[in-house]
Symmetry: C2
């Protein structure tokens, strides 16, 4: 049976314009005189032409595209290898399902409203969101778009049932600190991450689980960057010249801390043992000395996020309510990787 | 005058379902039973509700979003700082105009058809495309989408009038090679980039402009990566043990070449002077020794691309044909930056 839908050519003939002009009008491209555009749109109406994929997708409700939003400025997205690794996993999984990865970049929080409009605008089937901060409006904006969503990292204080993929931050941190204690270290410091992110809070909690009596002066605030690690390490050495170990909230922080320890003539691991978190390629292997760290499989976590979302989208059509049947969250295991620094 | 368009609430009341259900249906989200979805869509039809931004944009033909496509696998996009710098410029400019940067990631050329569908699907106002290769189908696919487009780098063999932003690759290369000659170097080698990209061809042409009689064995093929620079440098040393200078097609290539020169006990610049291209941060300043190179303002080129496109989109509505009134291409100047390597 022939397809009864009118073609682009039929619209062009009906409107008395070229195929290219019709294409430009219905694909939302600029560059067509308004009188001409009206002629085309009239022909579209008269023939009942379904103009483009955007309109078609109002019927099929599938765009074969998934948005990724990273709640960090574009500059951090491209300098912290964590994001590249997570995107790699997401990209592989989406590509295997012929779904387009649509990365929405932002300069800062002022751009979230615009991101929300794009997400609500019928351009993607779902969203993967990571590096959310506790004061971000982003999770609420995204929930407002009613798009199926999976978070990378536990997004907030709990209570809400948005599915997420996270590693066992608290358990991994406990293992790191226990390892330092097993080496006989007694003044174990912690450089925390930004405490508006649950991963940083959980790692600090893991440190406190093992060392509930630790001197509060042994905990300094970092921000998951090497520069933050340097600042925190200087502060720790100033207040605790006798420290003999550091558990850093991530590998980039540890890399900064190592530089400051060298500067101060402290030998690693002889004087100060250092453990990181992430087992980030290529950071952890290239520090001096190579870094003992808590491994999480970042790329695999990206794959898992994409897989959870795609599964929810597949089931969607047969379910009464995607929120009630939302996939469960997944917590992935961590493992201590021993290198020379501890 | 009140807005006569029916609201989401009106549709919900008409269909006898919740506002959230209507929102989910019309925003293309999954998770609504099909019988329910049909009820909603019937109400949408009966009330003449314009369901979402995608549908509205069929009328306004503006999405306030611009796609960026980099014709490289996602892994290269996140390891070559060139792309991050160009994206930075694009992001700043688009954000200033409240237009969403939509980065479409690909794993390889097999994904271009899907990218083409997304571009033609009414999701963005225009496209910025860079790192195109001569055998890529991408430019044709993008032209087929009839979207206003600006290329980063001259995209092809010429002839077509797609606007682009590029630096003066050939002139910059000439300056690099003339500088090496002015230092008294007589056996000047060139490590070319991938010759399926016009930037690499232009830089090779610039080298040949200055040294038309150069021994062909002094030219080796690289691929704009440090690993490619290492391979090419080994090859050059094997065939030309007497070489006394290298002009590398970009800074990453030069970084690889420097490593191999050190390995072979060649002093830089005493035995072999090295010049790169790009003045890439932080690469060029962190090589050993710091790299003399040809500077192009990569971030500014990204800004220019975005600006050209936004200007074309603004003018679009009043013009008969965006292709005829396409903005002219822009060639930005280069400048030699002298550091220790030459």
């Amino acid at each position: 049976m022939p397809d009864p839908r009118p073609t682009l050519e039929a619209v062009a003939a009906h409107a008395g314009v070229s195929r290219a002009t019709v294409s430009r009008v219905v694909n939302g491209g600029a560059g067509v005189r308004s009188s001409l555009a009206e002629k085309v749109l009239r022909a579209v109406d008269e023939l009942g032409y379904v103009p483009n994929q955007a309109a078609r997708s109002l019927v099929t409700r599938r765009h074969d595209a998934v948005a990724v939003v990273i709640a960090e400025p574009e500059t951090r997205v491209f300098t912290d290898p964590f994001f590249a690794q997570q995107l790699r996993g997401i990209s592989k999984e989406l590509t295997a399902q012929d779904s387009q990865l649509v990365l929405l970049l932002v300069e800062g929080k002022d751009d979230y409203a615009r991101v929300g409009r794009y997400l609500a605008g019928g351009h993607v089937d779902g969203a993967l969101v990571f590096s959310v901060h506790l004061d971000d409006e982003l999770p609420d904006i995204i929930r407002g778009s009613a798009l199926p969503t999976v978070f990378g990292g536990r997004p907030d204080r709990g209570g809400r049932r948005t599915p997420y993929v996270d590693c066992d931050n608290r358990g991994g941190a406990r293992e790191a600190v226990r390892h330092l204690r097993s080496l006989g270290r007694e003044r174990i410091a912690h450089i925390a991450g930004p405490l508006d992110q649950t991963s940083a809070v959980d790692r600090l909690d893991g440190y406190r689980d093992v060392l509930p009596e630790a001197d509060p002066a042994l905990v300094a605030r970092g921000d998951f960057t090497p520069a933050g690690g340097e600042r925190a390490m200087r502060e720790l050495l100033a207040h605790n010249p006798d420290l003999d170990a550091v558990f850093a909230a991530n590998d980039l922080t540890a890399a900064g801390a190592l530089r400051v320890l060298h500067e101060h003539g402290r030998r690693v691991p002889e004087d100060v043992a250092v453990v990181g978190f992430d087992d980030m390629e290529p950071v952890a292997e290239q520090t001096n000395p190579p870094l003992t760290t808590v491994r999480q499989d970042i790329e695999e976590m990206g794959r898992l996020m994409a897989r959870l979302l795609l599964r929810a989208l597949e089931r969607g059509g047969d379910q009464a309510d995607s929120l009630d049947t939302a996939p469960a969250s997944v917590i992935t295991p961590t493992a201590l990787v021993r290198r020379a620094s501890a």
